[in-house]
């Protein structure tokens, strides 16, 4: 049997997760889809499985700066959990793939009656706020190349593959720099054989080298553990410390 591949859901107590299960609809998110627009109601929430959603703040109505990135460690639509019906940000599918969808109304109801779900979601919001804060500070201090390397690694971790589609215009907007800045940085990383960039597709060739090029803001999420890597040890410790909580992972199938 497959395990629950969204870490936020996997960390919920089994009974809590089972109550949510009938309301979770497997969907495939399409590259470039906009899940929310700022000021517009959020109709559904999403728990990414193998996809990546960018949280963007609009600048002067047209540029979109990335302030957060959601993959299988989290959910898209946390503002609903904070009691807000209209999205404060744009949510854009940046890596296509499977996710679990739940209607906003159902999610809000479940949240009201399940303290375990409330605790799980609040804990994730805390983590997301850390990521947004870090991005604000990173934007201030770190150079484009280091930020690009970090961004590529975060994308890889959440997509689970080392190759993805990406235009330089899009990257420039995400990172809040001019296109020429992205071109130069991507070329520099390519010259050092860390990535290969070709016709809107980026391939990470040297994971370790790219990690060395990234700013200190990068750290792999626990689920991105590679055999023997630091993330793997972290995950093992967590599992051993709380077998009851994670016991559901092996038993319940999502896909």
């Amino acid at each position: 049997m497959d395990k629950i591949r969204n870490s936020l859901l996997a960390a919920l107590p089994r009974a809590c997760y089972e109550k949510l299960l009938p309301a979770l609809v497997p969907v495939v998110l399409v590259f470039g889809d906009i899940l929310y627009e700022p000021g517009k109601p959020m109709r559904d929430v999403y728990f990414p499985v193998n996809c990546l959603v960018s949280l963007l703040t609009l600048v002067e109505g047209h540029l979109a700066l990335e302030v957060g990135m959601v993959g299988r460690e989290g959910m898209v639509g946390v503002a609903l959990a904070l009691g807000i019906k209209d999205s404060p940000m744009r949510a854009l599918v940046q890596g296509a793939g499977p996710a679990l969808r739940m209607s906003a109304a159902r999610f809000s109801r479940e949240l009201e009656r399940s303290p375990s779900l409330r605790r799980g979601i609040n804990g994730y919001i805390h983590v997301l706020m850390g990521q947004i804060s870090q991005t604000a500070a990173c934007n201030r201090f770190h150079n484009v190349e280091a930020r690009l390397a970090r961004w590529l690694l975060m994308t890889r971790d959440r997509m689970g593959v080392p190759q993805f589609r990406m235009t330089q215009d899009f990257l420039a907007s995400m990172l809040g720099v001019r296109r020429v800045g992205v071109t130069e940085s991507a070329s520099a990383l390519q010259r050092r054989k860390l990535i290969e960039y070709h016709r809107g597709s980026i391939h990470i060739l040297d994971q370790g080298g790219l990690e060395a090029a990234a700013c200190s803001c990068y750290s792999p999420p626990p689920y991105a553990a590679r055999p023997g890597g630091p993330g793997a040890a972290q995950l093992k410790v967590k599992l051993a410390a709380d077998p009851a909580e994670h016991g559901t992972e092996a038993a319940l199938a999502v896909f």
Binding site: L82, P88, N122, H126, A137, F141
Partner: protein, 235 residues
């Protein structure tokens, strides 16, 4: 009650908290929380302003949000974080109330009105953080200084700020000369007067005309998410 969150709480919730609210001075430079530290209290500033700073691995830090009489410092406590990811430092001296962490946690779990208000406040804070990320990337030091002055001014009873350029430089994460030049330009335009650690705002409308959109976005979001302060009968 000169804190907006406390002022808009329903009477019953307010009455429960009241015996536990301790008036406390918040002197300039006091570290309310250290990054990675645990929290004994949460703070509701009344006349002080507290900066939330994110400390990067390499030691550099930058302000990601400010909290004054509209809010509360220490949301990590009820959002389930064992420790705070940011550092909180008093950037403008004044007063506030503090509330024991254990009381805050218990009331947050058991009082839905309090919980809903604090969650909406959390969203307002997230918007301020995201907007800071934008501002750090896209706007000039002049604009950022205007934003910073206006956000501070909204949280102060007077139009004077006690503040050194060095502190502002630290908050904004720019070099001190950058702040000196920006402040010089605002002074030459007659918008502020700067004297030895003291900034007087002379022309608020002038600052609003120069500031980037970030100020209005944040202000609008706070007004949208948090009810307007009502006067409460104090018994």
């Amino acid at each position: 009650m000169n804190n907006r969150l406390l002022a808009v709480l329903p009477q019953a919730s307010y009455d429960t908290l009241l015996p536990f609210l301790e008036p406390t001075p918040l002197p300039l430079g006091m570290a309310v929380y250290e990054s990675g530290g645990t929290q004994g209290y949460v703070y509701f500033p009344t006349s002080a302003i507290v900066s939330l700073l994110y400390v990067l691995e390499d030691g550099a830090s930058a302000e990601i949000a400010i909290t004054g009489n509209e809010g509360l410092v220490g949301i990590a406590l009820f959002m389930g974080g064992e420790t705070t990811p940011s550092r909180a430092v008093v950037q403008s001296a004044g007063e506030g109330y503090r509330l024991k962490a254990s009381v805050m946690k218990k009331e947050f779990e058991t009082d839905p009105d309090l919980q809903h208000l604090l969650l909406r406040y959390t969203q307002a804070l997230i918007t301020q953080m995201a907007q800071t990320a934008v501002c750090n990337r896209h706007h000039s030091v002049d604009q950022q200084l205007c934003r910073w002055l206006l956000l501070s001014l909204d949280r102060l009873p007077a139009s004077d700020l006690v503040m050194t350029q060095e502190l502002i430089a630290n908050m904004l994460g720019v070099r001190r000369e950058g702040v000196t030049e920006a402040a010089g330009r605002l002074q030459a335009a007659g918008l502020i007067e700067y004297r030895r650690g003291h900034i007087s705002v002379l022309d608020r409308a002038g600052l609003e005309a120069r500031v980037c959109e970030c100020y209005a976005v944040v202000k609008k979001e706070y007004d949208r998410l948090l009810p307007p302060p009502a006067s409460r009968r104090v018994h």
